[in-house]
Amino acid sequence: MGEVYLDHVATTPVLPEVLEAMLPYFKDAYGNVQSLHSWGDKAREAVEEARGKVADLIGGVAEEIIFTASGTESNNFAVKGLAMAHQARGKHIVVSAIEHFSVLHSAKTLEKWGFELSEVPVDKYGLVDPKDVARSLRKDTILVSIMHANSEVGTIEPIKEIARVVKQSGAIFHTDAVASAGSIPINVKGLGVDALSLAANQFYGPKGVGALWLKKGVRIIPFLDGGVQEEGRRAGTENVPAIAGLGKAAELAKAEMGARAKRFSALRDKLIAGLPSRIEHVLVTGHPTKRLPGNASFCVEFIEGEAMLMLLNSQGIAVSSGSACTSRALKASHVLIAMGIPHEIAQGSLLFSFGLDNTGEDVDYVLETMPPIVDRLRQMSPLYAKFLKDKSRGGK
């Protein structure tokens, strides 16, 4: 039985070099960044060095980086903080239908606070059409938040084109790049965005640290009230080791991005080609070419994702699913539904995401392991029985 982790979208391991970069700040240089003595000096140095590296990763300037504790916090901060700071100009905000819940639910909270929310649809590949964004814009639109890439289906959005449209309206444009930063090249200037979220644990950095890049001069209301950390924009003792880890991970990601992407996309393409050829009634979800290098996502018809996931796990393969049963809320992935995939098919969602430890053999192992699992579950599926009888798809 193999031990094959194919769930890098959930989180990546921390690279040895990254952990190495963190270790000094736990026991020796453990000072508080705000302290005015030499322990503080060392902590400050680590944080400022990391700030530069994170800025480098995305083509920004160090002072534009605000460290946070997660992608979720970056998104809450951006969506709520920007909306609150600019509400004098209007109270309308726009998001896409496939945003991560940290954006979507932040926007819903703003709705409760009196803001108006528009959701831009996506096509069957999960792509946002800049024209739809243009149509959604109003005079009182102050904020648009559309993700750079979707982690569930891997689709990369045309942010540059969307930014052009948004900029014409004068609204602020935030993009959630948690799924893409560190994996594909990003240049905030080139993209034309005003704010961008990222998280370390998506590219071999530690959990518990993220960043919000905020263009110089763009006003924001702090999300965490308290001390004067991060130039008064984000209170709370700076998480020095984690920030140092994020910095190192950003540096490595930048240096190795091309090589990593090449490897990951070869594995991805092999699986995307192989799975539907070995198993009938398998749908590839997401865009055929505009997709994250490591992301291979599918819907397997007539069976449910969690059951597949558990049987794969029993064979040592770790993946994730967007099925209703794998979500605590017991709802099928809003991403797949927004893409027009019927509920019963969305239930068969399965997401393989590749990382540095994976090899072609892992793909072979998956290709070998999957068919009997699918078979077994289909044998017990009332939907499959129906399909065999009358070629009907879907529920009763």
């Binding site: 007539f302 069976i303 449910e304 969690e306 059951a307 558990m310 029993s314 099925s323 209703a324 049963c325 794998t326 605590r328 017991l330 099928a332 509920h343 019963e344 239930q347 044998q379 017990m380 599926s381 009332p382 939907l383 029985a385 879907g394 529920g395 009763k396």
Partner: protein, 135 residues
């Protein structure tokens, strides 16, 4: 800390009584794939007793384990006894389910119940139905 306990896992990995019964005496279908789970239960009744039970299930690990457990619990019971299989009893036999999977135990008991009702209906034993005796 696995989400499911060993008993649930054992039933999920080795589900009992999977399948359909041709010319079943009663069939019960519950759920639908939109909400993620769907179960079809088939029973064979002899002498007011469930002599055989099979099912097909579309759903999560809990749904499959619950189906398997319900089938085991039902087999050999009289219809009256089988009707007393509640979701709580199913969950108890499985030594507990995660909170957000309770509804699966509801579905299992419900599907069995529906199959029994379906049988009774066919027998013309329900008050309303006069269509009995088709069998």
């Amino acid at each position: 800390m696995p989400v499911y306990n060993e008993k649930v896992m054992e039933h999920f990995m080795n589900p009992r009584n999977v399948g359909e019964i041709e010319n079943a005496d009663g069939i019960g279908e519950v759920g639908n794939p939109v909400c993620g789970d769907m179960m079809s239960f088939y029973i064979k009744v002899d002498n007011n007793r469930i002599s055989d039970v099979k099912y097909k299930t579309f759903g999560c690990g809990a749904a499959i384990a619950v189906s398997s457990m319900v089938s085991e619990m039902a087999k050999g019971k009289t219809l009256e006894e089988a009707k007393k299989i509640t979701p709580a009893l199913v969950a108890k036999e499985l030594e507990g389910l995660p909170k957000n999977k309770y509804h699966c135990s509801n579905l299992g008991a419900q599907a069995l119940n529906k199959a029994i009702d379906n049988y009774l209906k066919k027998q013309g034993k329900t008050a309303k139905s006069q269509k009995g005796g088709k069998k």
